[in-house]
Amino acid sequence: MSADADKERRRWRNLLGMPARPRPVVGATPADVVHRENKWSLLRYRARPEGLAHATPVLLVPSLINRHYVLDLQPGKSIAEVLVARGHDVFIIDWGTPGPEDRFVDFDTVADRSIGRALRVAAQHSRRGKVHLLGYCLGGTLTVVHAAVRPERVASLTTLAAPVAFTDDGLLATWTRLPQFDVGALVDALGNVPWQIMQSAFQMLRPTLPLSKAAHVIDRAWDDEFLDGFFALETWGNDNVSFPGEAYRQYIEGLYRADGLVRETFALSGHPVRMGNIACPLLAVTFAHDTIVPEASAAPLLERVSSVDKERLHLPGGHVGAVVSRKALATLWPKISAWWAARDAD
C-alpha cells in the first residue's frame, strides 16, 4: 500500500471512528492537594524519583476563567511534567468553579488573599522562603498585581501573555470600553459572569474559527497524535469557568476602562498597585500572533518595573498554541526552567 493510500485509510478510519474515540486524559501528572479554601485549591506535583534539583519552588497561576490543566494537558504534552522532570518543586492553583455566592468575590480576595496564601504554603518548602511565581494570561495580571504590593515571597516573576496595559485596539478592549456596555448591570443581573458570555467574546475574535478547526481536523485526521492533542485542547477550551462577579466588575472598570495598572489608579487591599515596585528578576513572554493578549498589552510591564534583572522573550505563535505545543515543551519551557535555575539562590 502506498504512503498516500495508507494516509487516506487512516484519515477515514479516524473520521468515522471519531464519535467512539476515547475521551482524552487531561491533567494526569500526579499531584496532591496541599491546601483548599472556598473553591480554589493548591496542588503540588509529586517530585521525580531522583528528587528535587532546585531549592526554590515554582508556583503556577493560571487564568481565573480557565481550568488549570492547560499547564498539564496530556502525558507527554504537559508543562507540569516537563518542569517536574527537570527537578522543580511545582505548585499550581486550581481556581475551581465559583458558586452563586462567589459573585461577591473581588480582586482583593483573588490577587491578595488567595495568591498570598498559595505563596506562603509553597514558601514553606523553600529554604529561601521565596517562590518563583509564574502567571499565564489573566493569571499573569494577578501575579503582577500581587508582586507589586506583596513582593516579600516572590523570588522571581514570569509572565506569559499577561495583559497589563489595556488601551490596545484589540476587539476585546474595544468591546469593554464601549459606553453602551454597562458592566454593573451585567454583574447585578447575573452575579458571576457566565463562561458562555466570556467564550462568545473570545469567539468574536475569529468568528470563522469553528469552521477552520473542522477543516483542519479533516485535513490532519490521519495523524493520531495530532487528534489526541487537538481533542485534549478542545476539552480544555470548552471546560471554562464563570468569572466571579465583583472581580469581573473591577477587572473591566479598574483595569480595562481606567487602564489602572499603567495609570497607577488600581489598588489592592487599599494599597496602590505600582508596577515600579516590582524589583525581583522578571521574565516576560509575549507572542507575536496573540489576538487575545496583543503584544502591546503585555510588553509595557518591562518598561515599568524597576527590576535590574529583566528579560523578554518574544516568540511566534498564538495565545495557547505557543504555550502548550510540542515545540514550546521542547524550547520555551526548558528556557524558563533554566532561567529559574540560574536564579535559585539570592
Binding site: L171, Q180, F181, L186, D188, M204, R206
Partner: protein
C-alpha cells in the same frame, strides 16, 4: 480524492481568511458594537428589575431571598479564610517561641 481535498482546503483557507477579516472589521464597527452593548445592557436591567420584584415579594412573606442566601454563604467563606489567617499567625508566633524545656 487526495488532490480534490487539497484543492478544496487551499480555497477554503483563502475564503476563511478573507471572511474572518471582513467579519472582524464588521464586528468592530460602532454600528454593530453600539446596539449590541445597548441590547445586552437593556436585557440585564430587565432581568434585575424582574429579580428585584420577585425578591420583594419573597421578603414580604418573611423568607430569605436568593441574594440573602448568597450573602450568608459568602460571609461563611470569608470567616473560613479569616480563621486560616489566624491559624497562620498562630503558627508563626509558635515558631518564634523558644523550645520548651
Amino acid at each position: 480524492m487526495m488532490m480534490g481535498w487539497d484543492a478544496f482546503k487551499k480555497s477554503f483557507d483563502v475564503w476563511e481568511d478573507a471572511t474572518a477579516k471582513y467579519l472582524e472589521s464588521w464586528l468592530r464597527s460602532p454600528l454593530v458594537l453600539g446596539p449590541g452593548g445597548a441590547m445586552l445592557t437593556a436585557a440585564m436591567r430587565t432581568k434585575s428589575a424582574v429579580d428585584g420584584a420577585v425578591d420583594t415579594w419573597w421578603s414580604t412573606v418573611g423568607l430569605p431571598t436568593r441574594r440573602d442566601q448568597e450573602r450568608s454563604l459568602h460571609a461563611l467563606n470569608q470567616l473560613q479564610s479569616r480563621l486560616m489567617d489566624l491559624e497562620e499567625t498562630l503558627a508563626d508566633l509558635r515558631a518564634q517561641l523558644p523550645p520548651q524545656a
